[in-house]
Symmetry: C2
Subunit: 140 residues, 2 copies
DNA sequence: ATCTGTGCAAATAGTTTGCATCCTC
DNA sequence: GAGGATGCAAACTATTTGCACAGAT
């Protein structure tokens, strides 16, 4: 089952109804490569009110079907949470492009911090900023 | 030399002048335990316009004397960059408290990701969210 | 039929900008 | 004295809320 079907099911089980706005937002997120901001989503979908985009994102986040990603810009990004894999983000300071990465070593280190801190960790974000290969070449 | 003197010096060298607002913002940040938002700073300082707070924060960030910290709330936090040490943040989802931590293992893992990605890393943020020991106890 | 989802418009919150004035160098 | 720093108020951007109505169950 793909994410969009899974998301719809979870929303239904949580007692939410399926409207036209919700379907479109879920659809878009299902096909997205990486995080999208609420405004990007709103712009890409005709005939859906901005408020509905925000409300749908809230519900999805509450159910942990999507995750908020703060990469330092003005607007918050949202991307689906895949059962398959958890990832983090590299942000290019020049072109603004967002690329995902994974690192077991990193996850291990975070887990160790959690154990040492006494906090019961629920989630975590890692954002690396720098110059991507493409932009680095251009400058050189 | 403490941070506030260092910051003033850097600002001067960058060609900025020292006014009453700048002095107060630097002073506050120098004594802060962890990140403060622009609005917190504004509220804590009488007789300084909000715009001056933002402008001073911009200049400090540009010179890398402070660092912006996004912990997921609505407002961005700012905290001084100490030569001594670089740290990250644990956020309690219940009480909202922010605590700093350091981890060499984590820094190593990040460096490794940088090498593997082709990105020239400039900076990075790590935010861990969970329940702090105090709030965990209270719930139990 | 009921009660939630939706769209619009207005309200809010954080941040930025324009401009006249003050004050540092 | 010149030019940056400051404060105020207005502008802006992202996000939230109130409300009437359409639509899902």
């Amino acid at each position: 089952m793909d994410w969009s079907a899974h998301a719809s099911e979870c929303l239904d089980e949580a007692g939410h109804r399926s409207g036209h706005a919700r379907r479109q937002v879920v659809e878009l997120l299902a096909g997205a490569d990486c995080a999208l901001t609420a405004l990007e989503i709103d712009r890409r979908i005709e005939s859906v009110g901005r408020a509905s985009v925000y409300r749908t994102l809230d519900r999805l986040e509450q159910l942990q079907l999507i995750q908020r990603v703060d990469v330092g810009g003005d607007a918050a990004g949202y991307e689906r949470v895949d059962a398959s894999g958890h990832h983090h983000h590299l942000v290019c300071q020049d072109c603004g492009q967002l690329s995902p990465f994974t690192s077991e070593q990193l996850e291990d280190a975070i887990e160790a911090v959690g154990r040492g801190s006494g906090f019961a960790l629920a989630s975590h974000d890692v954002v690396l900023r720098g110059t991507c290969p493409g932009c680095g070449e251009r400058d050189a």
